[in-house]
Symmetry: C2
DNA sequence: CCCTATATTTGGTCCGACCAATTTGGTCCG
DNA sequence: CGGACCAAATTGGTCGGACCAAATATAGGG
């Protein structure tokens, strides 16, 4: 999915791959638009649109003399997806960083949600936790319920900045990494402990406590995911090309 | 700066402004590329590049039937800058959310930096805090030193995900909001308290403590900035168009 | 009123061309 | 030999017109 089959997107994907895999060094000049066009058998317009994409994600800097490759560390979030999707399996360290970061932001919205929630909203959150407690045996259903839960938290917190970052991160992660059958598993006792702590924090309207709990959840999720990737026996390739 | 005077960028900026100020409703169809071209007195190619930009930041969804306006809440971080730069003064609530979010990420990297730092790196961090303590009277110098400090923290933490998000946020914030002479001022006693706590946390290599301290710093910064914007007497307009 | 067949619109791509600014290469002078 | 200077080739930005396939709008028939 998400593979918009336009020529310019394919060109952009190929150039992006080349840059991310180190075919160029920082500051190197890309071939001219005309050369790239002839190389890809495309029109200059298509190449220009592709280069425009790469420029927007900060991978290249287009100027009058030519397009120059930027250091990866100076790029935008949008390179994360392609970066994680490079190798056979996603880089565990990167995925771990990703989940920890996601967790920090989730914890922030969680704290804000608890701080500003009215009674009805608080009831909804508590209801979710109860539902979650009933799903510790069903991995898939739980995953989905957590998602709903955080969507609810996001709506309550009403934090546009985090929401937008979340959109960016989701676009990078869910489409690139979640697809394969990486099924992180958190031990049930740990999960029960987390849920209990969450419940307690909500009951006491203790925003710091729920924040810390959310952080811990993502920490566990990060560990579990890293492990799942590690023992992924390179079976399933195939994903949508 | 940052004002790339290309036609397509100007068209993108204008359309972006129109969308963000509510000239369209979710799902509304934009005029066709040909119509937009004639409206702006530009070629279709220029319009296409502009629309491509808007699509990449999630403001519109280009499909075969036409380009449709997406809900703002579904856009990418890249809309934050233009969104904050819309009115006369930046929206205080949005700026507050922004700084809190930035703080959450800074706290995360801070924790990771402390956890994984060797002795030399730890010394460098401590040296920064000492320097900061000597600058509580010089707002500008302190601002700059904090920036250096967090750059150092970022390098030590070696967290690419946060770094990339930071790039995105900086591109949205520093270029759009910091420009005007909004000078948030944190009371010196509070600043001294924060620095003391930071120093203590570093001495003890207590990652949680430094994380919490960083969060508090940004909380204070958020308050101070909101206040500074509030009493900004709408004097200085002018910024780069 | 619903469903289908046709005409129109729309985005994606291509080609060839022009302009202004940059890069490049060579030349001339000290 | 080295550096300043000038002209030619290159490069990105834009334009205009053109074609195609898919999606939309329109008219027609049940």
């Amino acid at each position: 999915m998400s593979a918009n089959n336009t020529l310019s997107n394919e060109i952009a994907a190929e150039l992006r791959r080349e840059i991310l895999t180190g075919h160029y060094r920082e500051g190197d000049r890309l071939a001219s638009e005309r050369d790239l066009a002839s190389r890809f058998g495309a029109s200059r317009g298509a190449v220009r649109e592709a280069l425009s994409q790469l420029e927007q994600i900060g991978l290249i800097d287009i100027q009058l003399g030519g397009a120059r490759v930027q250091p990866i560390g100076q790029a935008r979030i949008a390179v994360l997806g392609p970066l994680m999707a490079l190798g056979e399996a996603p880089d565990p360290a990167l995925v771990a960083q990703f989940l920890q970061t996601f967790g920090a932001l989730a914890a922030l919205t969680m704290e804000q949600a608890v701080s500003r929630s009215d009674q009805a909203q608080m009831n909804r959150l508590q209801a979710y936790v109860v539902e979650l407690e009933g799903l510790v045996d069903d991995f898939a259903a739980m995953q989905e319920k957590w998602r709903e839960f955080f969507l609810c938290v996001r709506d309550i917190s009403d934090n546009l900045v985090v929401q937008l970052i979340g959109n960016d991160l989701k676009a990078q992660f869910v489409d690139q990494v979640v697809n394969p059958a990486v099924r992180p598993v958190i031990a049930k006792p740990m999960m029960r402990k987390i849920l209990a702590s969450l419940k307690q924090g909500l009951d006491q309207k203790d925003s710091e406590k729920v924040g810390a709990t959310v952080r811990q959840y993502f920490e566990e999720l990060s560990l579990a995911t890293t492990q799942a990737i590690g023992q992924m026996p390179a079976l399933m390739r195939q994903k949508a090309s």
